[in-house]
Symmetry: C2
């Protein structure tokens, strides 16, 4: 449902979302509209806690179209767009979670209410990815960047060899941080080809005594994504899945450890999810900060200290939404369709638009592209923003444009972008 062709259509099509009488106009409106009573301000205002100043006007406003008009299509690489249904749900219970008399933000992390939230989030994630009991699921803090240190600190000794495939900026950062706690070596790098490729696995020469092989499953900046995964001859497979986590089914049993920052596909920033084979836990180096020790968090079910409770709650709402959609098989179909439309528009532009990434490994999540006439790129981004399509500027290290089309980007957003691209080309070819 979250992929319906517009936020409005989403609500009309969703059997769960029944129309609500508009007390002012006596015509049916949707929850979106009801909720948007509280967020129709159209320009920044002082937030001197004048909490009600926005809550009156909207009731007079044409609610039917307001949400549709106000919502932009946000192509940011992360934090990124979230499912509208999830945002409305979160808004509806922000002030008082299901009669508990408090916000999720106010709950003791050891109270029964929050325990029910984190346990359901874990259980739904296990269902989505079919995670067996051989694996622990941890909800941590600090982003993937903290895991760049935690992984070698927990899995190997300082003199152990570990292998890295470097397909972009993120796998390179992971490699560099691992130098502090292990002996990493880059067994393949795409740098000379500007990170547009992924190697064929049978050509890979792993170090004979490598304890693990680290990959970045999807490079957010460069837009290269693994379509299948290497089976390391030596050691374990460890993957940073930050930017394609829960975008498609994954055979978790092939991995020793999977980690992901939440802020692309599954929630707000501030939550990092680690899925680790239980028999790898408990061997942290002595210098490991207690908060980077997987054993501490596994033994305490992610509650050794206060976790990022609200972020975990939001992830839980997203997991439920993904299950409602039919799980990751259905989600992947939608993501493939969105990506196909966009890549076809680029490839069918007779070179007006260009994607540098090798076709076989193009990301379904992050689509970098450039203009043949690069002098027009700033204008492209400016005009798109006027059309409520924002955050299309490419990463400074790559330039050009980048459209991040994560799970929560509606098909309508991609269709609108493609229509704009064709129009822009017609006017500037």
């Amino acid at each position: 449902m979250a992929m319906a062709t517009s936020p409005h259509a989403l609500l009309l099509k969703n059997p769960n979302l029944t129309p609500l009488k508009n007390p002012n106009f006596n015509n049916p409106i949707t929850t979106t509209n009801t909720n948007t009573r509280f967020n129709l301000t159209t320009k920044p205002i002082s937030i001197k806690c004048a909490a009600t100043s926005q809550t009156q006007t909207p009731i007079q406003a044409p609610l039917q179209t307001q949400s549709h008009q106000d919502r932009v299509f946000n192509f940011a690489a992360g934090p990124a767009t979230l499912p509208e249904k999830v945002l409305l749900k979160a808004q509806s219970e922000l002030y008082n979670w299901r009669g508990s008399g408090m916000s999720v933000m106010e709950m003791s992390h050891r109270g029964k209410e929050f325990l029910s939230i984190i346990q359901k989030a874990e259980s739904d994630l296990r269902t989505l990815l079919n995670i067996s009991d051989d694996y622990s699921v941890l909800f941590l803090q600090g982003g993937a960047t903290t895991q760049f240190a935690a992984i070698p600190l927990n899995l190997v000794n300082p003199n152990d060899t570990v292998d890295f495939i470097v397909t972009g900026s993120w796998s390179d950062k992971a490699f560099k941080e691992a130098q502090k706690y292990s002996k990493p070596s880059t067994i393949w790098s795409g740098k000379s080809e500007k990170y547009t490729k992924i190697p064929s696995f049978h050509d890979l020469e792993q170090n004979p005594d490598a304890k693990f092989l680290h990959i970045c499953a999807n490079e957010t900046i460069h837009g290269v994504e693994y379509k299948d995964y290497p089976s390391p001859k030596n050691g374990l497979l460890v993957a940073d899945m930050s930017s394609n986590f829960c975008s498609k089914p994954v055979d978790v049993s092939k991995f020793g450890l999977i980690y992901a920052g939440a802020q692309k596909n599954v929630g707000p920033s501030g939550v990092t999810i680690v899925i680790i084979k239980k028999d790898l836990i408990g061997n942290a180096q002595e210098i490991t900060p207690v908060m980077l020790d997987y054993k501490i968090h596994a033994d305490n079910k992610s509650l050794y200290n206060t976790p990022p409770c609200y972020g975990i709650y939001m992830c839980g709402l997203v997991f439920e939404d993904l299950l409602d959609q039919g799980g990751l098989v259905e989600v992947e179909k939608k993501n493939k369709k969105k990506a196909e439309i966009l890549y076809n528009a680029i490839d069918g532009s007779n070179g007006f638009y260009r994607c540098p990434v090798e076709k076989s490994v193009r990301s379904l999540m992050n689509v970098p592209f450039t203009l043949e006439k690069s002098e027009l790129e700033a204008e492209f981004i400016k005009e798109a923003a006027k059309e409520n399509m924002v955050q299309l500027k490419g990463h400074r290290s790559v330039g050009g444009m980048r459209a991040s089309i994560y799970n929560a980007m509606p098909l309508a957003g991609v269709e609108k972008l493609v229509a704009f691209m064709k129009d822009f080309q017609a006017r500037n070819a």
Copy 2:
């Protein structure tokens, strides 16, 4: 205003909160009520994204009293109660932040909208605590527990001596983690007296070459709080202020470093604030994980990687609310009044209630107490919960009860607790 005698009174008394016509009943209601249309469910329900199922009934419900009835007084030690005004504000703009077309949870941390949020949060915190430009203010992740490692890793070398005053569980945890990265010594411990005291500073014998003196300004579990601060003869003063941060004015210039988890007085869990003298930054040990290196975060204004954006936004709303109240001088007056009422009730109970903490160092934030008839404690907690006063159970390591009365606990909450205590005593003396 946040300290008004009831959520309802708060709204009526607050000039910023103007009444809103109730479209159903034609009588004036308040924003609280408008907002609580979305959260009146009185028992847990499935969250299969039936986002609207709760949004209809409330409109038929007696809105006038609903918020007052639904809101509990939450005495949790953290995460803890937040200002009702702040929650309503956050709810009103969760779905669309001030016409940006997106939620704060969806914003790129490098976009102009979020930059305005984090910059204003820092600027308001600097105003509240009168923080000079000699100090960096960092918004980090991982809780105080991560700082237990980051502090020695950033400030000293592995063989350096550092001093700790251990006044409770938290300063003891900080001491133990410091053993991995320095040579800490406990120059005073209250353990033998069950952590009910704070030493007199002139008796303290610091190590002659100690690089810093670490204290915990308020022990959340044991309820002992520094009323003034030692001036270390040797080295710097470093303070964990997690549970009394922004509860009163503090002379920041006396400290080398102040750190605090947000989830007691200033926001949701998942944000850790570090205030550090700039000349202490840049000397991290080689083994320091990049995410624990203060220089990385200071050089990148807390945006080296994706910060906990929504939590920082919530802290910003709380800082504004504290400024609206007149700043920390006014906030401290309210906190002193609340604590005085509660401690007087305990001390005036002829021993029915007992607080073990030495009077001169009793915390304004966390009030532990026991019953002379300890067999009645479970009943006390149970009956209080029936009266919508929750999370009063003492920490398992101490037992008894604990009332955490942070900034956002209304005076009405403490008054209600005290009235209940007297009634309970009358019925059980």
